[in-house]
């Protein structure tokens, strides 16, 4: 992965762990219920799935956390604003930038509870973009860690 060549193994592992956590907390759940929609799902079902995925992205006994809050926790490191173990993540990474843009756009589409079909479709596409962007990023970092371990 470009931009991480000078990072130590430990720093790369720290980034990989950070993104793995992001994948679990956001990538997996930002379209969790959308993934389970049937092809015949109506607009109300789509809206409910989006609201569940974006507003209650993490949900447990202590309540729920929305997708924007989850992203806010992770983005400073990935956008190079905060160091991790003394290293800065390459802020220009195209996938991170794409995720950031999609999250901004998703915020602009609120309130989804009142959204119509076109907005819902757009929101679903952005949610998919976030999920896939994070998946690719996580896979690349994982491969980098494994490559360094085997070197």
């Amino acid at each position: 992965m470009e931009g991480l060549e000078r990072c130590s193994d430990e720093q790369v592992v720290a980034f990989a762990e950070h993104v793995a956590r992001l994948k679990h907390d956001l990538g997996k759940y930002i379209r969790f219920r959308q993934n389970w929609l049937s092809a015949e799902a109506g607009e109300d079902e789509v809206r409910a799935a989006l609201v569940a995925d974006l507003h209650h992205t993490r949900r447990g006994p202590d309540g729920s956390v929305d997708a924007q809050s989850v992203w806010a926790e992770f983005r400073p490191v990935l956008l190079g604003e905060t160091e991790l173990l003394g290293a800065t993540f390459p802020a220009a990474d195209a996938r991170v930038q794409a995720v950031e843009r999609a999250m901004v756009r998703l915020a602009a589409l609120e309130p989804l509870e009142e959204a119509g079909g076109a907005v819902l479709q757009e929101a679903m596409e952005h949610a998919r973009g976030v999920a896939e962007g994070i998946r690719e990023l996580a896979a690349d970092l994982r491969d980098l860690v494994l490559a360094r371990r085997s070197a």
């Binding site: 720290a14 679990h24 389970w36 447990g60 994982r142």
Partner: protein, 533 residues
């Protein structure tokens, strides 16, 4: 229906499983090891499967694997692999409990203590799991856990449709309302009524079966509801009817479309009042019967044409009717069905006797019978008689249209072995008298004999049409053909790689190999899934 324990710090899997895969019972979510233990201990072995998350955002006190004076990063690492640590602990008490770890194996590549090589531990194919994929995985695991003894000689197979049907019938069997079984001949309606509905109903009374196509119309009422002496010509004594005989049990009325109009009226009264009056008697006798009716007729059409009472039709609970698919529609794993049918057949005295005769003639000691599907027999074992069903013979079974459905299949399987034994053939495996080979020709002859008049040859599995444009290398032609073939097969197999593997490699266990080739061809499961009906 399976009992599934969810171990997860979040609620979302539980909510979605309940909504999208409602055919199973869910417990939990257990939030940590202690809760998971409590649930499993309370269930006393009734949990069929565990769905286990990996990342647990739970208080540090409940976390496993946190060293003394742990740094925040160490705590985070423990949270991230908590599911694996929980799994390792659960394995000490429940070593063979199937567990689906809710992540892909790839995702755990950085973890050192992956317990994934153990038997009974399974992973998702994709982290971003969807309902269909998880449903399929759960079904295949539940199916592989083996059948419950109470299902008896009923073969459900592994298909999702039949699993749903089983779950539905299980619920209906326990309820008080009548059960309507629909479906073509030979699909096992009678078998299901006796060995599944009655067995699951928990009713202490007898199972009584009446085939209404064999009862003369003028005797039907007396047969079903009983009669008193002198009620009709030739009635020389009081007679108990089928309803009274089935009191507190199950009454199965096969071919219910044959009910005479008089009997329909009386049946309606029994269903409404819960009492039966014998023909010629005014006395009402209370009866508590679970009624199961079966037909391959369209009862609604009969109602429309006026030959079946609409009020009786409605009383039979038609909204919950269970429609059994034909054998071909079930998309079965024929090798498994064959194995099932042969085991069933060999449990009967006649074939047991025949095997004993064969052993004696061949100079073999007493012992067990083993069915082998394949081209060659395994090494000889003392006392073991091998019934070898070559793949070519199984292939013929797959291609047959099975107009007589399960019944025809079971009879063909039994006949094939019976004749093979009679032939005492050992030609395909040399001179080994411990191997009885079912020759493909024998199977072909039996199948042709089964065909209805006018149908001369077993049908094919259907063609796959490949569209090819000019390519600049032969390799590209080959890959394109393979891509299209795999795509068609995937869609026919409803996305089940096990079914594809059975078809391509003769073994459902090779699903991973097929999936690997699938990936190599650049086919995207995600995209094809959307094309599934």
């Amino acid at each position: 229906m399976a009992d599934i324990l969810i171990v997860d710090d979040q609620d979302r899997y539980l909510e979605l499983c309940r909504a999208a895969i409602p055919e199973h019972r869910y417990r939990g979510p257990a939030r940590d090891l202690a809760q998971a233990r409590r649930e499993l201990e309370a269930a006393r072995g009734r949990i069929d499967l565990v769905l286990l998350d990996v990342h647990f955002d739970i208080p540090v006190e409940a976390l496993l694997g946190v060293p003394e004076g742990a740094t925040p990063r160490q705590i985070e690492q423990a949270r991230r692999r908590q599911g694996l640590l929980i799994l390792a602990e659960l394995r000490k008490s429940w070593p063979d409990l199937p567990v689906i770890v809710m992540t892909s194996r790839d995702e755990l590549a950085l973890e050192s203590e992956v317990a994934g090589d153990e038997d009974f531990t399974y992973f998702l194919d994709d982290d971003y799991v969807d309902a269909r994929a998880l449903q399929g995985q759960i079904q295949s695991l539940v199916a592989s856990r083996g059948r419950e003894p109470s299902t008896g000689p009923v073969y459900w197979g592994d298909s999702l449709g039949m699993r749903k049907l089983e779950a539905r019938l299980d619920i209906l069997a326990r309820g008080r309302l009548p059960v309507v079984l629909l479906g073509p001949m030979g699909t096992g309606k009678s078998l299901l009524a006796r060995h599944f509905v009655h067995a699951r109903s928990g009713r202490p009374g007898k199972f009584v079966s009446v085939d209404l196509s064999t009862v003369p119309a003028d005797l039907m009422a007396a047969h079903l509801f009983g009669s008193v002496k002198g009620a009709y010509t030739g009635s020389i004594a009081d007679r108990t009817g089928a309803f009274e005989a089935a009191h507190q049990g199950t009454l199965f009325l096969d071919e219910v479309g044959n009910l005479s109009m008089a009997a329909q009226k009386m049946l309606l009264a029994v269903l409404q009042e819960g009492t039966v009056s014998r023909v010629g008697d005014l006395r009402e006798r209370p009866v508590d019967v679970k009624l199961v009716v079966a037909t391959n007729e369209d009862l609604r059409a009969r109602v429309r044409e006026g030959s079946f009472r609409s009020d009786l039709y409605m009383r039979l609970n038609p909204a919950a009717a269970v429609e059994l698919p034909s054998l071909v529609e079930r998309g079965l794993d024929y090798a498994k069905l064959l194995d099932f049918c042969l085991r069933d057949a060999f449990a009967r005295p006649y074939l047991k006797g025949l095997v004993a005769e064969y052993r004696e003639a061949a100079g073999l000691p007493p012992g067990r019978v083993r069915f082998v599907l394949g081209e060659s027999a395994p090494k000889a074992e003392p006392g073991v008689l091998v019934i070898l069903f070559p793949e070519r013979a199984v292939r013929l079974l797959r291609r047959h249209s099975w107009p007589g459905n399960l019944r025809e299949f079971a009879m063909t399987a039994e006949n094939a072995v019976l004749f093979a034994l009679a032939e005492m053939t050992t030609a395909a495996t040399g001179d080994r008298s411990d191997v009885v080979t079912v020759r493909p020709k024998l199977v072909r002859d039996l199948l042709v004999a089964n065909l209805p008049a006018g149908e001369e040859a077993p049908r094919t599995d259907g063609d796959v049409v490949i569209h090819l444009e000019a390519q600049d290398t032969l390799n590209k032609v080959s890959v394109e053909c393979e891509r299209q073939y795999f795509t068609a097969l995937y869609l026919r197999a409803q996305g089940d790689f096990g079914v594809m593997a059975e078809r391509l490699l003769g073994d459902t266990q090779h699903a991973r190999k097929v999936q690997l080739r699938f990936n190599q061809l650049g086919l995207k499961v995600r995209e094809l899934r959307e094309r599934l009906p």
